[in-house]
């Protein structure tokens, strides 16, 4: 276990592109948090007349209790950056053929996949940590209420967020194992996760009235529901539903089994 962790770290430690992309991720992450507040304040000021009462109240985007779900939803865009990191680091092993030499040297295919899984877990935990830090920071800065009870309330969105990222990155790993070429894998991954499935799901839902909560991207995105309609007094799911968690666990299991099966049956 520690050996596999060390192995992955040795591979990534001096790989500049990895750290640059990861650095960009952290910078964007915090930047989004800060700019969102600015942009909303500016928007409210500009539209004082039309929005009247809202503007006076301000939108309590970063108030505790709400902040965890709001931030977790807002920063969901960044999971693609992490997915690129995963795809690049796996496809590089195929294009350099280093996976081949790893296996020849006496690593098992399962250990190889496990080493990538450890990286994915580390990235998901990093994202969770950033969410925690950003939430605490923005919350303590802007929230009306700052008592520990309120801070801790709704914090289950952080583990849910970690699960969301973890599952999404496992899907990215599956694409990398199937396609093996960095450019192709990234393009097809974006195409599937951001276009093909969302559009397909929309058609299913609005044209044919077929439920589609079980599709992989829908399931992953469903973990944390869009919170913002509540500021227009609409009902939203402001908790993490167990059934959503189970569906995502199911998909994650499928991604991992498929990844392993592909790695096992293909020639390297």
């Amino acid at each position: 276990m520690i050996r596999i962790l060390q192995l992955e770290f040795l591979k990534l430690k001096h790989y500049k592109a990895f750290w640059i992309i990861l650095g960009l991720f952290v910078v964007f992450y915090f930047a989004l948090g800060f700019f969102t507040k600015r942009v909303i304040d500016w928007f409210l000021e500009e539209n004082m007349e039309q929005l009247g009462q809202f503007a006076n109240m301000g939108i309590p985007l970063f108030d505790f209790v709400d902040i965890w779900q709001n931030l977790a939803y807002l920063t969901f865009v960044f999971k693609w950056i992490l997915a690129f990191v995963v795809i690049i680091s796996i496809c590089l092993e195929f294009s350099n053929k280093t996976i081949r030499q790893n296996i020849i040297d006496g690593l098992s295919r399962r250990e190889f996949m496990f080493s990538k899984l450890i990286m994915i877990l580390a990235l998901a935990l990093l994202a969770g940590l950033l969410l925690l830090l950003l939430g605490l920071f923005l919350g303590l800065l802007y929230s009306q209420v700052k008592s520990p009870d309120f801070i801790l309330m709704n914090m289950e969105f952080i583990p849910a967020y970690i699960l969301e990222i973890f599952s999404f990155l496992c899907l990215a790993m599956l694409f990398a194992f199937i396609i093996r070429r960095t450019g192709f894998a990234i393009i097809i991954f974006i195409f599937y996760t951001a276009m093909f499935e969302p559009i397909g799901a929309a058609i299913m839902q609005y044209e044919y009235k077929i439920a589609n909560w079980y599709l992989p991207m829908r399931a992953i995105n469903n973990l944390i529901h869009v919170p913002f309609q509540k500021y227009a007094f609409m009902e939203v799911q402001d908790y993490v539903a167990w059934v959503d968690v189970l569906v995502v666990f199911g998909w994650t299991g499928i991604f991992l089994l498929l990844s392993y099966w592909i790695l096992k049956t293909r020639n390297l």
């Binding site: 192995l7 001096h14 280093t98 296996i103 049956t265 020639n267």
Partner: protein, 297 residues
């Protein structure tokens, strides 16, 4: 027994790349796997090293089976040297040591052996092909394995690079290690190996000792005034296997027991004075072509 394969088979669709291959490599042998390009050498090595999934048959390392952990006691390079291009030689060797679970890796010794110690902190991508190949040998030697596998180790190298690699392999042979060497170069196998097998279209068409094959038949060229009489004398000797005329000489294939002195003496006794008597050590290339020809028939 270091390595044994039984009926090892690999099919890619309709093509059979390796066809029920039986091999036996024993402790201390330098085993040449000889065959033209596309004869299934690399596919065979890929299967016994776990990167190519076999279609049928079995292999066994150290009489213990196919477990991936057994590969940690094998040093192997398949085709090109493969390393992380953005890492230095040292960093790459650390990865090898970690995978092979080497307790106290002696990086300096391995790097000095192949003459790369001075360049150990340079990135792999800055190396020449010869240096890359040498680093691959250093990496395969790092765990001090009992058996090494080299696949076309001199492919694409300049004459100096070829000489360097051959010397390193001979040095490794001198350490008493078992070596499995795949090559399409007969000359290479002849110079380095003790045993060899010939592959063609995925089938083993020959296996044996290099020395036995080399010494099975010697060729002796004979010239004299009366070739027919000499031919008559020789054809009565059981140690002479074959006689033919070529370029005004008699070209004979003889048992290694029949030496040139012996022939000279026999001829003298019969009153034939030889003007030309040349011993030609048979080389593997001719044997190889003969083996290929036999398999065609």
């Amino acid at each position: 027994m270091i390595l044994e394969t039984q009926g090892l088979t690999k099919r890619f669709g309709r093509i059979t790349a390796v066809d029920s291959l039986d091999l036996e490599v024993r402790q201390g042998q330098v085993y040449g796997l000889l065959g033209p390009n596309g004869s299934g050498k690399t596919t065979t090595l890929g299967m016994i090293l776990g990167v190519t999934n076999k279609t049928g048959g079995s292999y066994s390392w150290f009489e213990k089976g196919e477990d991936y952990r057994l590969r940690k006691q094998v040093g192997a390079i398949l085709e090109h040297p493969i390393f992380y291009p953005y890492l230095s030689a040292m960093q790459n060797l650390r990865i090898t040591a970690l995978i092979k679970e080497i307790e106290k890796p002696d990086y300096a010794h391995a790097l000095k052996m192949v003459g790369l110690y001075e360049r150990r902190n340079d990135r792999f991508s800055t190396y020449s092909l010869g240096m890359k190949q040498r680093l691959a040998i250093a990496s395969s030697m790092l765990s001090d394995p009992g058996v090494l596998i080299f696949d076309e180790p001199t492919n694409g190298l300049d004459p100096q690079g070829i000489a360097e690699i051959r010397n390193i392999i001979l040095e490794i042979r001198g350490m008493g290690k078992t070596i499995l060497l795949a090559s399409h170069l007969l000359d290479e196998v002849q110079k380095v190996c003790t045993h060899f097998a010939v592959l063609r279209n995925g089938k083993r068409i020959f296996a044996g000792e290099v020395d036995a094959v080399l010494n099975k038949k010697n060729r002796i060229e004979i010239g004299c005034a009366d070739l027919e009489k000499a031919k008559h004398i020789l054809s009565n000797d059981q140690r002479v296997l074959h006689i033919e005329h070529a370029n005004g000489y008699l070209v004979t294939e003889v048992d290694p027991l029949l030496t040139t002195q012996e022939i000279n003496r026999i001829m003298m006794d019969q009153g034939v004075i030889l003007s030309h008597l040349v011993f030609k050590r048979s080389n593997l290339e001719e044997q190889f072509l003969a083996i290929l020809k036999e398999s065609d028939d």
